[in-house]
């Protein structure tokens, strides 16, 4: 399996999400990191993907209303 020699960035792109999800095998992770070290194109995109995840998480986060917390406490079984 080696499209890698011809198009390293294509391979790296496929590894990007699994790499960020930390699900690559040790061997794959080392391979991905070696590639990132040597490829400015992918490094830029790696930093973007990491930023993008933070952005989505931040955008999606909405703090729980304090009254709801109280309501949940009142659902506990009375002692």
């Amino acid at each position: 399996m080696n499209g890698y020699a011809f198009d390293p960035c294509d391979k790296c792109e496929q590894m990007m999400q699994p790499y960020l999800d930390r699900v690559l095998t040790e061997e794959e992770r080392i391979e991905a990191e070696e590639h990132l070290d040597g490829c400015a194109y992918c490094r830029k995109r790696y930093r973007f993907e990491a930023e993008f995840r933070r952005f989505v998480r931040l955008a999606a986060a909405e703090p729980m209303p304090a009254e709801l917390k109280e309501k949940l406490r009142s659902l506990r079984t009375p002692l």
């Binding site: 792109e13 496929q14 990007m16 999400q17 999800d21 699900v23 830029k44 995109r45 930093r47 973007f48 993907e49 930023e51 993008f52 995840r53 952005f55 989505v56 998480r57 931040l58 955008a59 999606a60 986060a61 909405e62 703090p63 729980m64 209303p65 709801l68 917390k69 309501k71 949940l72 406490r73 659902l75 506990r76 079984t77 002692l79």
Partner: protein
Amino acid sequence: MSETTPESSPRQLATDARDRVRFEEEALQLSDQVYQVARRLTGSREEAEDLVQETFARAFRAWRSFEPGTNLRAWLFRILTNLNIDRGRKIQRSPDTQPLEETDYFLYNKLEESTGDGNADERRVVERLSQNDAVTALAELPHDFRDVVLLVDLADFTYSDAAQILGIPIGTVMSRLHRGRRILKRSLADTAVEDGG
């Protein structure tokens, strides 16, 4: 685990009560995380609050079926996602099966192109996206994909926990996650380019 009956000894009743209180406290500590996902599963704050209350009411009633030492967070989220399906989330056409041409780098490439600056800092590039657009894009994801994206990307569950919570194979988690994230990026790319004029 034995049921508490009127004949139970006072000591057993006390142990039982103590276990239950501990369970309830531990569950309540996870309520913020449950709410955050519930909020994105529903269309409004009110619906999210109802869903979370229902989740905890059911969890407190069913506390005996939780096996101590296993993953309480995953157990709670399983109740949450099941209730969300029960509450009759809109039936959808079978999820988006159109081919997605876009590659993973698609959003970045699009934003960089519209910035017209190949050297722009990645953080600056992300700042071109609006948080409101992201919330809308998440809401518009086909529900099967959204469930997985929220569990993994928002609630930080592993693929295998997400699979267990949703009762689907891990391979399905991976493919829905992959596709869900791309759909999300595609809609953000569309809105970012529209907003940019």
